[in-house]
């Protein structure tokens, strides 16, 4: 891990240098644009797609649409034929999954290209290596037509200004209506695409709810426990009742996300809190020590897996196999837990738990990133940009259309078989559909689980409860260079310190020293940069 961070840090530095080189070499970048111009950007209009009626309707506040079954006759997304006919499009995107088979052996990829009318040439890079790949691509000047831009890329505004297209004239306000499926993406998801007084990319929309405190509903039922905990004391009792160390059964696994849940109980802000233009980090919040102390109690009581502090990457398996019963993870994991573990565990059931107030009453729920990254387009003639936008519009076709079904489930008979009207991925489909279209752009996420449709009801119910107490991260869509270059490694160190306190390796009193270090080594600069940004857009 240490070596990894160091390598990444070095690469980040080199990316900075590379971007500098590239930008210096690029004469048409133009002067830096004042941050204040970002406030003047008119975000794309939101025109919700009405073609398919949801079984569980979403809300403007962020509850997602839920569907029990796929429509028997999917809506034809492009009745006029392939929408993006033209030269091939190279797209550089990251992946978390195993890479798909090459296009020559990938029925799904070929069908997707046919449906678009062009060839999508994916340059896929594993997520862990993405920053290094971006660094060399920028330095080498070999930009693909479209590239996923993540928040760890430094000098982003200058880089976008110099090398990528300002899409405002195509997308701002009513202009987006020419691309109806992009217009279907809610406005909030577009905020993180604004730089240099323009819209510099397409969002990759993700669920507002972000993460979920999953619990094994089957194990809770088996022991006749009440998962609707009313305060921290009840949560601790639930954890105690779910722990049976003689049978290697514990309540909790990963300590840091477990701490997040306790902090949600305490009303600690989601990363940052803004009040009248002044920013406070969650690390500095007055109730963080109380959260650490509460976690310390859970650790001392033996309610965390004994290896919780020493392993990485095992928590999902622990949760799926029942070694732990409560696990904080991304919302998208909900379906995957069922797919992976339900067949080997009779009665397997999971649900989401919301943080109650620490001493009773309502708690909070931290919102996730509204866009995982953005897709930026290399500077190109207007017509080429329009072709790219038409292709991306097709890749954002929503649930209920034939284009969505093809994008997510591939070709019938090869990639999926039908169960009623619902597509179920075949082993070939599972492999082929890992083509990272979700890291290009996407429709707003839909709750849909063809294998066990009833799960959608539980998910939608959780969404409704979570959105009521959702706390957003106020710096989303703002930019701090120090946060990009220093923030990541600094946060890794802070998490180590948090673990040390939770585990009892360091006393709670050491936290104030740790905080001083955080402030000195970047925290204060990050805060100042966010405050400056905030002041610029809120004069």
């Amino acid at each position: 891990m240490g070596a990894d961070v160091t390598r990444r840090t070095v690469l980040r530095g080199s990316l900075g240098a590379a971007a500098g080189l590239a930008l210096a070499a690029c004469g048409d970048g133009g002067p830096a644009v004042p941050i204040a111009d970002n406030a003047k950007v008119r975000l794309p209009d939101h025109v919700p797609y009405q073609g398919v009626k949801a079984d569980f309707p979403g809300t403007p506040e962020g509850v997602l649409n839920g569907y029990l079954h796929y429509p028997a006759s999917p809506v034809t997304a492009f009745p006029g034929g392939p929408p993006a006919a033209g030269p091939p499009i190279s797209v550089m995107a990251m992946t978390f999954n195993p890479v798909p088979p090459p296009i020559g052996r990938n029925t799904y990829w070929q069908a997707l290209n046919r449906s678009l009318g062009t060839e999508l040439r994916f340059e896929i890079t594993p997520m862990g290596d993405y920053p290094s790949k971006v660094a060399v691509i920028i330095a080498g000047g070999d930009l693909p037509d479209a590239m996923a831009v993540r928040h760890e890329i430094p000098q982003r505004p200058a880089m976008l200004n110099a090398l990528f297209e300002d899409l405002s004239e195509h997308l701002s306000g009513p202009a987006v209506r020419e691309y109806p499926y992009l217009a279907n993406i809610p406005t909030a998801h577009w905020r993180a695409t604004v730089y240099n007084g323009g819209i510099y990319g397409l969002p990759m929309p993700r669920a507002n709810v972000g993460s979920v405190m999953f619990y094994r509903a089957d194990r809770v039922r088996e022991r006749s426990l009440d998962p609707d905990v009313s305060d921290f004391r009840a949560f601790k009792q639930l954890c105690t009742d779910l722990t049976d160390s003689r049978r290697s059964r514990y309540a909790l696994g990963d300590p840091v996300p477990s701490l997040y849940f306790v902090l949600e109980m305490l009303g600690v802000p989601n990363q940052w809190q803004e009040s009248g233009g002044r920013f406070t980090s969650w690390l500095e919040h007055e109730r963080l020590p109380q959260g650490l102390d509460a976690m310390r109690q859970l650790v001392t009581a033996g309610l965390l897996h004994p290896d919780a502090f020493t392993v990485t990457g095992k928590f999902k398996d622990w949760f799926g196999s029942g070694q732990i019963a409560i696990h904080y993870d991304g919302n998208a994991g909900w379906n995957d837990f069922y797919r992976r573990y339900a067949q080997d565990t009779p009665g397997f059931a999971i649900d989401g738990m919301l943080a109650p107030g620490f001493d009773g009453g309502p708690g909070t729920h931290w919102a996730g990133l509204s866009s995982f990254a953005m897709l930026a387009f290399k500077k190109a003639p207007r017509e080429r940009i329009r072709q790219l936008l038409r292709a991306c519009n097709a890749l954002a076709a929503p649930f209920g259309t034939d284009a969505y079904k093809l994008r997510k489930y591939g070709v019938e008979g090869v990639d999926h078989t039908l169960s009623g009207t619902d597509p179920l991925l075949t082993p070939t489909g599972t492999v082929e559909t890992t083509l990272p279209t979700i890291f290009v752009t996407d429709a707003p996420i839909s709750l849909y689980f063809p294998e066990i449709p009833d799960v959608v009801r539980t998910q939608h119910d959780f969404q409704k409860r979570a959105v009521d107490v959702l706390v957003r991260n106020p710096v989303e869509g703002m930019y701090s260079e120090t946060d990009v270059t220093v923030g990541g490694p600094l946060m890794v160190r802070m998490q180590d310190e948090l673990k040390a306190v939770m585990q009892g390796r360091k006393p709670l009193s050491s936290w104030s020293d740790t905080l001083r270090t955080w402030r000195k080594e970047g925290g204060d600069r990050i805060r100042a940069e966010y405050e400056r940004y905030w002041e610029s857009i809120n004069p």
Partner: protein
């Protein structure tokens, strides 16, 4: 001098170790062997176990109760891994052959003190041992050479390894000069001397260096990640890497929050490890006898 007595070596002047002491040593060695062998075996067993057993065992199993090739089938589905295997074998064979040719000739030249530019070339070589090029300069060079997306980008940048050249050079220097001189008197040219005298006498060292090169070509993934835009041209290690470490790249929950699927199961990861070590395990016994001699290079002076 040593005198062999059955399977025990007794050094004159020393009494043979007592039976309990030898038994204790045997046990210790056995434990050490098990420490290496059991995890290896467990990985192979896990790759053959079904999900249920892997989950119940908490990750690793020692014996697959219901053996299944499901994990291997999942990896080989779609043909990407088998294609990547071919790429890896090709890059390793061609790379190792070219690396050996270039390293042997370079090392031989450097081992002859009077050869042209001997000192500066040696200094350049040593310099590359101390300072490796950065990622971006390397990328720019490969790009200028027009090698992006070419298999040569996987072979050329690591074709000459200074450490291996130094090892070979040391070995060549230990060959009696008289042999070379005698050949030269007989009319042999430098190339002939290298082919007919130096290489046959250096098989052990060349085998070791060859193995070093082959293993490094086989295991390399970073260059492929940088220089190969088409995943169809990726070597096996990079393809397999996407199965094993991808989700560990970012913080808890972020991968799932991003919409990515769960990381592959433990059985699948184990199967990947097995697949990635099989070729090396197959080749190793054939090289082992050279390796034993080769790694002793320079260990005993005189």
């Amino acid at each position: 001098m040593t005198t062999p007595t059955s399977d025990l070596v007794v050094i004159p002047g020393q009494t043979p170790a007592s039976l309990p002491w030898r038994a204790a040593k045997s046990v210790l060695l056995l434990v050490c062997c098990l420490l290496v062998a059991v995890p290896f075996f467990s990985i192979a067993a896990t790759s053959l176990a079904d999900t249920k057993q892997v989950n119940e065992a908490g990750g690793f199993v020692l014996w697959p109760e219901r053996p299944t090739l499901e994990a291997y089938r999942a990896i080989l589905e779609g043909g990407l891994v088998s294609q990547a295997l071919l790429v890896s074998v090709g890059v390793t064979v061609v790379g190792t052959a070219l690396a050996l040719v270039s390293s042997v000739t370079l090392a031989y030249g450097l081992s002859r003190p009077g050869s042209l530019g001997h000192r500066p070339v040696l200094m350049i070589l040593l310099f590359s041992l101390l300072f490796t090029p950065g990622v971006i300069p390397s990328y720019l060079l490969i790009k200028e050479l027009g090698l992006i997306n070419s298999y040569w980008s996987l072979i050329l940048p690591t074709m000459v390894n200074a450490f291996n050249v130094i090892v070979l050079r040391s070995f060549f220097m230990s060959i009696p000069r008289d042999l070379v001189d005698a050949a030269r008197i007989d009319g042999a040219r430098a190339g002939q001397i290298l082919r007919s005298i130096v290489i046959p006498l250096s098989k052990a060292a060349i085998a070791v260096v060859g193995l070093f090169y082959a293993v490094s070509y086989w295991n390399a993934f970073f260059n492929a990640m940088l220089y190969m835009n088409e995943s169809a041209k990726w070597p096996m290690q990079l393809v397999l890497r996407t199965y094993v470490v991808n989700n560990a790249a970012i913080g808890a929950g972020e991968a799932a929050a991003s919409g990515a699927a769960l990381p592959p199961s433990q059985a699948l990861q184990a199967a990947i490890l097995v697949l990635s070590v099989v070729p090396i395990v197959v080749v190793y016994p054939f090289l082992q006898r050279h390796l034993r001699k080769g790694v002793m290079i320079g260990a005993v002076k005189g």
